[in-house]
């Protein structure tokens, strides 16, 4: 349904909503600001103060007034003047009928009411030159406009800025001109079409000569139409420059010579071969607007193989700049201005400096077009038009973060892209909108550029870059892609977020020991300030353990305390199992663990045999199909062969089917119905299912609702309060009875297949059933059935009614009806509209029920197993952890200290196929050679150095270094809550005491991750892994190095 909005606030079109309502001063901050004029770059943080759309101050340390609103783009952002496109499509239209028409104004082609051209504004273009056409000798008057602003007053920078024309081949295809004489007479006739100049380059120069003569006040031959004179003279008097396009060298030469001769203020456009005349151009002081011949947004162009074919050349600008020609660079006129930075970079081949290239898209065009007093550079008093980038301006990998026009931020990549994404999701439909709302607002892409990139697995890239997006690492390599609007951050070094392999962070002081089934993910909360401080110290992932251990073990969870979204915070739960080997009573040490291991082995065996059996088991063909076929077969058999009763299995199956299908309600009911206000019948499809009283289902009927209506209601079976005569009737007439209660009939039939062929009108059903009994071989069931049948036979028929309601798109739908004679008689109400219906059951199968079965993964145990399928053992939460550890899916941490215990413990686990991670393990160093290859790793108690009191200083050992040297994986643990923040210091200290920094780094990142088997999520800087990154100001694990910035799941922790 559409709502009509009355546009009352007419003075504020849509654009205004994006604008800043504030009139006060705004301060823009960024890492560096390119003033362009004089090539000045303010580095290391600078500010621009703007007021009323103009620059009030710019500098590194400027005093900001009290009312200022500060917009800080961060220390890595770069602000350059708004880019000026010296060629643009905005004013282009059909040319005049005349070959030269000074009066056609590009401004007239500019639609001031059109929406802002965001595709160009989003690329940092703030102003553009507009030409009325590009296919006439003199097309008309060009102008310089801004890309956003209200009304002509705000948009217009200069108009007319130039007389726009061309002597290229396009312009030499002049239209014939016909002016009808009115009234046409026999003498005068209708007149003839007049040819116009020029057809050739020399013709063009001749025509230009004539036009300049007219403009200078010479005699008008009338050849160029009656109305050019006044305008041409006025423009000449104002010394408006003539911007004429010429491409090949001979055209340019002729044009430059002509301009010199008549003292024409010439701007050379196009200028494909201008380099061949660079000296002449510099001498004549003719500025050049160079159009870069590129079509990067399409495939290759085949221009031909001849010698005369001009290949695109990109070094023209460098040659022109060398000679001191004032230069502007634009993309070719058939490309959008948004490609201007790319064009400038491309035209830099041959040695044009980046500064010169930037000038050629900012101050260069501003000077050439005569608007440099207002735009083109960042200087006090000029318009506040800026392009905010995330890197150096002439660099393919930089992109635009924001665009300011006349003091307003017209485009902000992060903000506007988010709005668009949301809007697109909404447009995708109601479900899309819900999904968009429930999803966390992801930060935009982030690129981190560093001199040293520590990938975490020992590799160091120098320099290195990482691209984070959607919470993950998209790329980590020497140079990564820089998506548009990416926030680029620079620093010295970056490394993966560190892992605390054993921490209490998140317990908040709790001393309780949970039971074996407890999962920590149930108590996780998003990061608080403590969590964030730990993260800022570099610890992004911790293995959370309870303080105590119960004998059967506890589950530990790996998570990211500083995360802000539960879905991405939890790395794995359970990630590891912790057990206690050592006991105060040393006789008891390891007893419980050994028992558990023994039990776990048994338990595992059960599973193994199940899985083995399952692997061997060949499932029967899909059940539903079989069922239908069998049923049909059975029906056929019934009809054709009455003697075929022998196969009990078959019969039994049949019985079961009948029972199911005999249900009077379940299934699909369909009919064609006319639902007002529609006169055409439409499909009415009802799916019903009941469990005795409760009824669920769904209804599809387009006139009632455009979507499926979910129904819920009640199903009632009440005894029919009918006259006795009627009540008896069904008992006598088997057929009718069957019709009224399908169930009865089918059941009977199921037992006696021969019955169908018997005369229909005979004894009551009850007797029928009795007669059949002896034939059955299973007395128990038969008895039951007999009783059942008896009961049913005696029973009067039931009134089977249902009522259900559901919500459709047009409102609440109410259904009621009665099941009669295998048909469903009832009515449906939508508001006041009631339609009665009689539905036929088209299927008794409820197809939905089969669907989940088909989709179920193969290894998951089925609830209803197919016959012969191996039965799934039950899951024992106490032993499951051990089983997973045996399978190598989960880490197992065991507390054990003394050397003899360690050996026993490792042996016990080895027997079970587990390589445990030794926790504490004070004596592990002594046993290093014996443990190698047999343990998952060692989590040493915090002390780095150990000294044998008897031996003195000489025995000083770095236990981490010793273990690492023996090839035993190590990791660091804090065994603390917020104390986890000091873990990097521990590692750093270990390094200072002789541990290899590389090993230490790995022990904090990829080593810990693989030890804990969470290396599919964290521990390295690699594509697809979580976006946990630390930005450092020095090499990692140097005490002097601090962590500058931290990202967890792609989002910066602040």
């Amino acid at each position: 349904m559409r709502t009509v909005f009355l546009a009352l606030a007419l003075t504020a079109p849509l654009v205004a909503s994006q604008r800043d309502a504030l009139d006060g001063a705004v301060a823009l901050k960024a890492g560096s600001i390119y003033l362009v004029d004089g090539g000045v770059v303010l580095d290391g943080g600078a500010t621009i103060l703007i007021r009323d759309g103009h620059i009030e101050a710019v500098g590194k340390n400027i005093d900001l007034p009290a009312d200022v609103r500060v917009v800080d783009y961060g220390p890595d952002a770069v602000i350059v003047p708004g880019l000026i496109a010296a060629t643009s499509p905005y004013g282009l239209g059909v040319g005049s009928q005349r070959t030269a028409d000074f009066g056609v104004r590009a401004l007239d082609n500019l639609d001031l009411f059109a929406k802002d051209p965001l595709e160009d504004i989003s690329a940092g273009v703030t102003a553009a030159y507009i030409a009325p056409t590009n296919s006439r000798l003199i097309g008309g008057q060009g102008a310089v406009i801004k890309l956003s602003g209200e009304g002509l007053a705000e948009r217009l920078v200069l108009g007319p800025a130039a007389i726009d024309g061309s002597i290229t081949e396009d312009a030499r295809n002049t239209p014939g001109y016909w002016k009808p004489p009115v009234p046409a007479t026999a003498d005068i006739g209708l007149g003839l079409q007049q040819r116009q100049l020029p057809q050739t380059a020399m013709g063009a120069i001749v025509a230009l000569h004539e036009l300049v003569d007219i403009a200078k006040g010479g005699k008008d031959s009338g050849e160029y139409g009656p109305s050019i004179v006044a305008e041409a003279r006025e423009l000449w008097q104002k010394r408006t420059p003539w911007r004429i396009e010429a491409e090949s060298a001979y055209e340019i030469r002729a044009l430059v010579a002509f301009a010199e001769e008549v003292r024409l203020p010439l701007i050379l456009g196009g200028a494909r071969e201008a380099d061949k005349l660079s000296t002449e151009l510099a001498g004549a002081n003719v500025p050049v607007i160079f159009e870069v011949d590129m079509m990067p947004n399409s495939g290759g162009r085949d221009l031909g193989r001849g010698d005369e074919v001009t290949w695109p050349r990109y070094d023209v600008c460098a040659r022109l700049a060398e000679k001191g020609v004032n230069l502007a660079i634009t993309p070719a006129s058939n490309m959008r201005p948004r490609n201007i930075r790319y064009a400038a970079a491309l035209a830099s081949r041959g040695g044009l400096s980046a500064d010169a290239a930037l000038r050629a898209i900012t101050l260069g065009p501003a000077e050439i077009l005569g608007v440099s007093q207002r735009i083109g550079s960042i200087a006090v008093g000029k318009d506040a038009d800026f392009c905010v980038l995330n890197g150096a301006p002439i660099l393919a990998t930089s992109s635009v973060l924001a665009t300011w026009i006349s003091g307003d931020e017209i485009w902000n990549a992060a903000r506007d892209t988010a709005i668009q994404t949301e809007a697109r999701a909404k447009a995708a439909g109601a479900f899309g909108a819900d999904a968009a709302r429930s999803q966390p607002r992801l930060p935009g892409p982030v690129v981190i550029e560093v001199e040293q990139l520590y990938l975490g697995d020992g590799q160091i890239l120098s320099p290195g870059q990482i691209l984070l997006d959607k919470g993950r690492i998209i790329e980590a390599s020497s140079r990564v892609s820089h998506p548009a609007g990416a926030n680029v951050v620079r620093g010295f070094a970056a490394m993966p977020g560190m892992i605390d392999s054993f921490s209490y962070l998140g317990l908040e002081g709790s001393q309780r020991t949970p039971d074996a089934e407890f999962q920590f993910s149930r108590i996780v909360e998003t990061g608080d300030s403590t969590d964030r401080r730990v993260a800022k110290a570099g610890i992004t992932t911790v293995l959370l353990s309870p303080r105590g251990v119960n004998p059967a073990g506890v589950n530990l969870m790996a998570y990211k305390p500083a995360g802000d979204n539960l879905a991405t915070m939890i790395v794995e739960d359970p990630a590891a199992m912790r057990m206690m080997w050592s006991d105060r009573n040393r006789m008891e040490s390891g007893r419980v663990v050994k028992e558990s291991l023994a039990k776990a082995l048994e338990y595992k065996k059960k599973w193994d045999s199940y899985e083995e059996a399952k692997a061997k088991w060949v499932p029967p063909p899909p059940a539903p199909v079989v069922a239908i076929e069998e049923k049909k077969d059975a029906d056929k058999e019934k009809k054709t062969d009455e003697a075929k009763e022998g196969d009990k299995k078959e019969e039994k199956k049949d019985d079961k089917k009948k029972e199911e299908e005999g249900d009077p309600v379940n299934g699909i009911w369909e009919a064609k119905l006319i639902v007002p206000p529609y006169s055409e019948p439409s499909n009415f499809r009802l799916r019903l299912e009941h469990d005795g009283t409760k009824l669920t289902g769904s209804l599809r009927c387009d006139p009632l609702s455009s979507s499926l209506i979910e129904l819920s209601g009640t199903y009632t079976e009440t005894e029919k309060a009918v006259p006795a005569k009627d009540a008896k009737k069904p008992a006598k007439d088997a057929k009718e009875s069957g019709a009224e209660g399908d169930k009865d009939k089918k059941e009977e039939e199921g037992k006696d297949e021969a019955k169908k062929d018997e005369p229909k009108k005979e004894e009551p059903k009850k007797e029928d059933a009795k007669k059949d009994e002896p034939k059955k071989d299973e007395p128990k069931k038969d008895d039951a059935k007999k009783d059942d049948a008896k009961k049913k036979g005696k029973e009067p028929p039931k009134e089977k009614k249902f009522e259900a309601t559901g919500k459709g798109t047009r409102g609440e739908v109410h259904l009621s009806g009665e099941f009669k004679d295998g048909k469903l008689d009832g009515k449906v109400m939508l508001g006041e509209t009631a339609v009665s219906f009689v539905l036929e059951r088209t299927s008794k199968e409820l197809d939905y029920a089969r669907r989940p079965e088909r989709r179920r993964p193969k290894d998951e145990p089925k609830v209803e197993s197919v016959k012969g399928e191996p039965k799934t053992p039950s899951i024992d939460p106490r032993l499951e952890g051990l089983r997973q550890a045996m399978l190598g899916n989960r880490a197992l941490i065991v507390d054990v200290d003394r050397d003899d215990e360690i050996l026993e413990c490792v042996a016990a686990f080895e027997a079970a196929g587990i390589r445990p991670i030794l926790f504490g393990a004070a004596d592990a160093v002594k046993l290093a050679s014996k443990l190698r290859g047999r343990v998952g790793g060692v989590l040493l108690s915090p002390a780095v150095l150990s000294v044998d009191p008897k031996l003195g200083v000489g025995s000083l050992t770095n236990r981490y270094a010793e273990l690492a040297a023996s090839g035993i994986p190590i990791a660091f643990k804090s065994e603390a809550e917020e104390g986890a923040a000091e873990l990097p210091l521990l590692a750093s200290y270990a390094v200072s005491q002789g541990l290899s920094p590389d090993v230490a780094l790995r022990a904090l990142t990829s080593g810990a991750a693989s030890m804990l088997r969470i290396d599919n999520r964290v521990g390295k800087l690699a594509s697809g892994l979580d976006g946990d990154v630390l930005l450092l100001d020095g090499p990692p694990l140097e005490p002097a190095t601090s962590v500058l910035r931290v990202w967890v799941a792609g989002k910066e922790v602040r």
Binding site: F5, L6, G93, V104, D108, D111, P132, P226, S227, A423
Partner: protein, 498 residues
């Protein structure tokens, strides 16, 4: 809904009719509706309610029309004994509706030449066109026929009534105003369109300056050209002097007799002098500013009416500043989409104009209907005040045409153009039952053949399927109507069906 049964049946059946029969058929159709029998006598209309639009409604009143003009109106009128009385106590009388701008009713609406102010729609209007017949059905009694928008400066329009079979019968006002278009003509861009508009006036100026110069130098070029063009220099039309406009002046122009001004230029000069009205077509809001620029620069803003398409509402500020009236064409509701959010915004255009106090007339040139009355009703439904909506189809367009003293409301002294509705004019169940134009009863719905054909399934006599309502015309059933009695040879013999 549109009452527009096709005049021509399937071509195959039409081929069976002789040209004479077709001619006869169309004559039969048109005559009952459009025969101009303007009454010289007295007509009294007694109705349950009179919506005068010039004052309060009158309950159970009467309107007396003498010699085509309203002579009395009120609740307790003494009706002259010799007046013919239409007594319809259940009906509602309403002034005949006024269409301020319509590019229909002509054989073709557009001329090929860019600047052609010397043309007149008089030569193009088709009096028996279906459009005029339909106008009566919808209660439109005054129409300004203007050339179509595919022009730079187009022909001169003409105000007519949809009654009569010659242009003279229909004529109300011969100078309906000049059509200009700010929207680019086919093959033009806005800039070249604008340049063509500017050139037209600068060419006029150049021509006038040249003429004056020639005259001052003792030449007689303008006179010779006038004689060459075959103009009557002595006639009534040629009297007076060329004066020039207010926006710019050509010195010495008053020395030129009017009759010597070039035919091609004369209407533009009249426009600049303020003697002609201008209807300036704008398709997009950007056209509005350019139209106003031209009108201002050449001094005819005061006599300009903008003919605006729906999207032009965005230029409302410029329109309000200029103080020009507007004819609203196109859909009443404007749709547009925000490029960032993708949100669709709807604007009900007449309300925008009403709120800015811009005088506007509704137009029947609309995508959904051809009825002014439906436009007004829809507008009220969308939130326009009833009074504003009713005036936008009566007195406002009458003012735009300078005919506010003749049409647009029911007042003593105005033309006897009265519609009798079966109920309130803005009710869906109401229809125009009778139309009285200048005192003549020209339309009666109960006798409307086409309405009958549509509602009762009876095709008008003479049309192809006249025999049976909805019957399929079999070749064999349709006997040749012409005298020769020949059957076309290419007609296959009807096959027998089992």
């Amino acid at each position: 809904m549109q009452f527009r049964p096709s005049l021509s049946g399937p071509t195959r059946t039409m081929s069976l009719l002789s040209p004479r029969a077709v001619l006869l058929a169309s004559a039969v159709l048109v005559l009952p509706l459009a025969a101009p029998a303007l009454a010289d006598g007295k007509l009294a209309i007694k109705v349950g309610r009179i919506i005068t639009l010039s004052g309060p409604d009158i309950t159970n009143g009467a309107i007396l029309i003498e010699n085509g003009r309203i002579t009395a109106i009120g609740a307790d009128l003494k009706l002259p004994w010799d007046a013919i009385v239409i007594d319809q106590p259940k009906m509602v009388a309403f002034p005949g509706m006024v269409e301020a701008h319509s590019a229909r009713g002509m054989d073709r609406p557009n001329e090929n030449i860019d600047v052609a102010p010397f043309l007149s729609v008089r030569d193009s209007i088709d009096p028996v066109g279906f459009y005029f017949e339909d106008s009566l059905r919808w209660g439109i009694t005054t129409i300004n026929v203007q050339q179509g928008p595919n022009c730079v400066i187009g022909a001169q329009g003409m105000v007519v009534k949809p009654v009569g079979i010659t242009i003279e019968d229909m004529l109300i006002k011969p100078d309906g105003g000049l059509k200009l278009s700010a929207a680019p003509k086919q093959g033009y861009s806005p800039a070249t369109q604008q340049q063509a508009l500017r050139s037209a006036f600068s060419d006029l100026r150049a021509y006038l300056e040249e003429t004056v110069r020639d005259k001052q130098q003792g030449g007689d070029r303008s006179k010779r050209e006038a004689l060459f063009q075959g103009r009557d220099l002595e006639g009534e039309k040629s009297k007076g002097k060329a004066m020039g406009g207010n926006a710019w002046k050509v010195e010495g122009l008053e020395a030129i007799p009017r009759g010597e001004i070039d035919e091609k230029q004369e209407p533009l000069l009249a426009l600049v002098e303020g003697k002609l009205a201008a209807f300036f077509y704008c398709a997009r809001p950007m056209d509005v500013q350019r139209a106003l620029e031209i009108a201002r620069a050449n001094g005819f803003l005061a006599r300009t009416t903008l003919v605006c398409n729906t999207a032009c509402w965005k230029a409302i500020d410029a329109i309000a500043d200029a103080g020009v009236p507007v004819v609203l064409e196109g859909p009443l509701v404007n749709l547009e989409r925000d490029p960032i959010t993708g949100k669709e915004m709807e604007t009900f255009v007449p309300k925008v104009f009403a709120d800015k106090k811009v005088r506007f007339a509704l137009s029947s040139s609309n995508t959904t209907t051809e009825s002014l009355w439906f436009q007004a009703a829809t507008s009220v439904g969308l939130g326009l005040p009833r009074d504003t909506a009713l005036k936008a189809i009566t007195i406002v367009p009458a003012e735009i045409l300078g005919l506010q003293k003749r049409v647009g409301s029911l007042e003593v002294g105005k033309d006897g153009n009265v519609l009798l509705f079966s109920g309130d004019p803005l009710s869906v169940t109401s229809f125009v039952e009778h139309v009285i134009v200048e005192g003549a009863h020209v339309y009666d719905r109960s006798k409307d053949i086409r309405v009958k054909a549509l509602l009762e399934g009876k095709m008008p006599p003479g049309t192809s399927a006249a025999a049976e309502p909805g019957a399929k015309v079999e070749p064999s059933a349709a006997k040749p109507h012409d005298d020769t009695g020949t059957v076309p040879l290419d007609e296959p013999a009807p096959k027998k069906k089992d």
